[in-house]
């Protein structure tokens, strides 16, 4: 066995990957942080607030983003993905594919002039397609690295060989259409996988009307709708008529704990629907909320008390029962049909806005990454973790943290991340 490299690769720059990187870097271990997107931050950056403290999500995340960027032991590789792995624990060789940004990382200073002048309008993925962005853009205002990216699929120069306005208006000459995708190799002693999750797409559940009824949205869409930096500037309105909703319904377990879709429990929906209802109430005290649930899962520290607070102080009513279907009246108000547990009768309730708590699902490309890394996945495509040492993957030297191994909330991801850092340190610092 060759040299034991005191260098760790972290794949994924969400809260888990960030925490793992910061711990290792502070431990004196060099970190190569690989992020597929143009900015780190992941899902947590999209959230408005976080339970059970109701802290503003980006406000507590942003200092960590900055720290990650500034830390001398961390090298950030954005727009990058893993292509190949060889070697063994202590000395892995990883091939990275880095997409061209078409913006010089050292020159762009995020002044925003190019964004103003770009003529293209494209669905903004960060805002769950609830508004448009330009073809040159930054994922979100606090994004790190705080520089622009050109989206090759939509930029007029790449699609029609035209425009180049951003190049003309950039005072720092940071635009570089000649940049090429590149491949490079890194040698590391250990690898931490922290690639996070996707959100279940509820259009397939026809009976709930998502995609058909404007006033039925997903929970992550709701986060953006109510967020001060979101498309509505933090003034909650319902999509159909921009009226302020007064009666909200949240439906838990939409597409989870459901044999036909995802049999597993997504772990944090009971808590985040309560949180979203609380925030809505804080915006407007006239809002009343119903939360439909199967079991209320709130086993974490202070979680049960949080649910109690929702019930007592935030006009939330918890209704045990499975929702059968949603229809819409002529005012576009969603009508929820559910089975009342006491009478076993199907009842109907009218709401202004319905929010579907859709579960975390594995990343689309999780299977592919598992193949490249040579690690096992479970029946659903989550990376398979050891039952009692959950940071351990099926392969020595490769560790897992966060929702890529199982749905989990932020504190559990942070614990998992620090835990994975400790395991990786064990490999690279062993005597």
């Amino acid at each position: 066995m060759g040299e034991n490299l005191k260098r760790v690769m972290v794949i994924g720059g969400g809260i888990a990957g960030i925490q793992a990187s910061l711990d290792l870097a502070e431990r004196g271990i060099v970190v190569e942080l690989i992020e597929k997107n143009a900015c780190i931050g992941g899902r947590m950056a999209q959230l408005d607030k976080t339970f059970p403290t109701n802290d503003c999500s980006i406000c507590i995340l942003a200092p960590k983003l900055a720290e990650c960027f500034r830390h001398p032991n961390i090298t950030l590789h954005t727009l990058s993905e893993i292509k190949n792995l060889s070697g063994q624990p202590g000395n892995f060789n990883v091939k990275i594919f880095k997409k061209a940004r078409y913006v010089k990382e050292d020159e762009c200073i995020n002044c925003g002039v190019c964004i103003e002048k770009c003529p293209m309008r494209v669905d903004d993925e960060f805002d769950m397609k609830l508004r448009k962005r330009r073809a040159i853009y930054i994922d979100y205002v606090q994004g790190v690295p705080s520089i622009m990216t050109i989206d090759r699929e939509n930029c007029l120069f790449f699609t029609k060989d035209a425009c180049r306005i951003c190049e003309k208006v950039c005072e720092r000459e940071a635009i570089d259409f000649d940049q090429k995708d590149e491949e490079f190799e890194l040698n590391v002693g250990s690898i931490i996988v922290a690639t996070g999750y996707d959100i279940f797409e509820p259009t397939s559940l026809g009976s709930l009307g998502y995609g058909r009824y404007l006033n039925v949205v997903t929970a992550l869409e709701f986060e953006r709708l109510i967020c001060a930096s979101g498309p509505l500037g933090g003034h909650l309105k319902r999509p159909s008529d921009k009226n302020e909703p007064k009666k909200l319904a949240f439906i838990n377990c939409v597409g989870s704990r459901d044999i036909k879709n995802n049999p597993y429990c997504s772990s944090c929906c009971c808590m985040y629907t309560t949180k979203e209802a609380m925030i809505a109430y804080e915006h407007d005290n006239e809002i009343e909320t119903s939360i439909f649930y199967i079991d209320l899962r709130a086993a974490g520290k202070g979680f049960r008390e949080y649910i109690q607070r929702g019930e007592n102080d935030y006009a939330i009513t918890y209704i045990k029962g499975k929702v059968a279907k949603i229809l819409e009246d002529d005012q576009k108000n969603p009508l929820i049909f559910y089975e009342d547990i006491n009478t076993s009768q199907v009842k109907q309730l009218k709401y202004d806005l319905v929010v579907l708590a859709t579960p975390m699902v594995p990343k689309k490309d999780a299977g592919e990454l598992a193949k490249i890394l040579g690690i096992k996945i479970d029946d659903y495509n989550f990376f398979k973790a050891n039952s009692y040492h959950p940071q351990k993957s099926s392969k020595e030297g490769i560790f897992l943290c966060g929702a890529c191994r199982e749905p989990m909330d932020i504190p559990t991801s942070v614990i998992d991340a620090s835990g994975a850092a400790a395991k990786a340190a064990e490999i690279v610092m062993r005597g």
């Binding site: 925490q19 711990d23 502070e26 431990r27 004196g28 976080t50 507590i60 942003a62 200092p63 900055a66 500034r70 200073i109 002044c111 925003g112 002039v113 103003e116 005072e171 704990r257 049999p263 597993y264 429990c265 772990s267 209320l296 899962r297 709130a298 086993a299 974490g300 520290k301 202070g302 979680f303 049960r304 008390e305 547990i341 006491n342 009478t343 076993s344 479970d378 659903y380 039952s387 009692y388 040492h389 959950p390 940071q391 199982e406 932020i410 504190p411 559990t412 942070v414 614990i415 998992d416 991340a417 620090s418 835990g419 994975a420 400790a422 395991k423 340190a425 064990e426 610092m429 062993r430």
Partner: protein
Amino acid sequence: MSDDDIRIGVFVCHCGTNIGGVLDISELTEYSKTLPNVVYSADNLYTCSEVGLSEIRENIKEHDLNRVIVASCSPRTHEPLFRSTCQEAGLNPYLFEMVNIRDQDSWVHMKEPEKGTEKAKDLIRMGVYKAALLESLEKMQVGVIPSAIVIGGGIAGMNAALNLANQNFKVSLIEKDSELGGLLRHLNKVYPTNEDASIILETRNLVENHKKIDLYKSAVIEKIEGYVGNFKVIILQNKKTLEIEAGAIIVATGAKALSPEGYYNYNGKTIISQLELEGILKENKINTNNITMIQCVGCRNEERKYCSNICCMTALKNAILIKEQNPDANVNIIFRDIQTQGVTYEEYYRRAREMGILFIKYLPEKPPIIKKDRIEVYNEFMNQVIGIPYDLVVLSMPLIANEDSEQLAKMLKVPLEENNFFLEAHVKLRPVDFATDGIFVCGSAHWPADISESISQSNAAASRASTIISKEMLEVEGSTAEVNTDLCVGCEACIKICPYSAISKDEETDTVVVNKVVCKGCGVCGASCPHNAITIHHFTSDQIIAEIVTYGGGE
């Protein structure tokens, strides 16, 4: 230094269009030049770009600046950068002052640019008046003892010790019992694999035989002294007093099961606790056909509001084991909400249902009643009371905090939450840290945790501890609190309020002392001192008053 010696440079940042698009930057630059002690003022498109930073460095030299102000964004993100830029040019970093004219001005006054510009003038003037009074401060360096102390030898503590030892750190593991293993010793099988607990317990051998781990069994902690990087724990073992030193401490003292005495006619024979059932199953002595388990006994009530996290899975495990042994047994679980988050645990729950284990939900206002030959429970779904015959009733008792956690918390000067579990620094982003640097928590001492959770947390705590003990030296904040002992009357108001336990009483002089290594300069002690005896360097009363006075138009 007389007033004449103060030479302030003001750099006003456009921040692209963030500030420049709203405020009149050239007006602000010109205005700055009219302020006392300002000898140079300029604007930059981006002060934080390399161009902007080199301008700061060059002008410090060219104009002999001894104070630098950047009027731009938030110190939270950019103060470290500007401070180090000043330092590179030979200026003490504490002679830098940041004025936030973006987050607190251009962003919030986007629609009233003239008023925004006037406000920016006020903010810059306040910064200039404060800057004149800034003093050079030094960051202290302290040595670090490159080892850790783990308190508690259950699965969490053992695993934390092992991880650090495997990273080549010396670890002292302190256990109050005569053997390692904690609660795990009393378990039969472990979920979700249903393998013998003894397999997990083999960790003990690894710990006992690790040459980097010093084991102190049957040891009682007498006293804890010191601070991050330099802790000293005094223990009593075999009537001998020992002193152990370490750079970091991990608390892994676990929890214990609530006693079932007094709940649901508990008798220890036909009505037993889940932990007692583990013992029976371990001995393979189960011979009854009608078994009913009751969840949330003694918790999720007025006295104990919390959910104990591990009882649903424990009940499922034992129910499955009974069913596997005797498929004809009638096993019921009377529950409130089944807590099986995630993939594996939910699968486990599904498996239990498929095996024919019956789940009956009860309402807290209508709890089950144990009669002589049956349990009566109101079933919401059927809207009637149903009777369940039983041979054995098993009560799921919550984990509660150990009695001695209060004493340990006092010695460590860390807080407990209302149920006496240890309270972390931040539930979201610092789940295993205490607010006090260098002390960490994991396992059920923090909150009821199962084996996999305890191991995750213990790895996390080990990682956090390693970020401290891997360093030779720690650099500590220069802007800390200082006590004027002539004014201090020893009232201890500051000691009680300090979130970092940085202040202690000097009994000899009857005044208080600030430990500069632990102090973060947050300032709450200064604000709470009734005698103005505490100065917070970099935020002195003089500096703050100068800002307020000039804001109000005074000199």
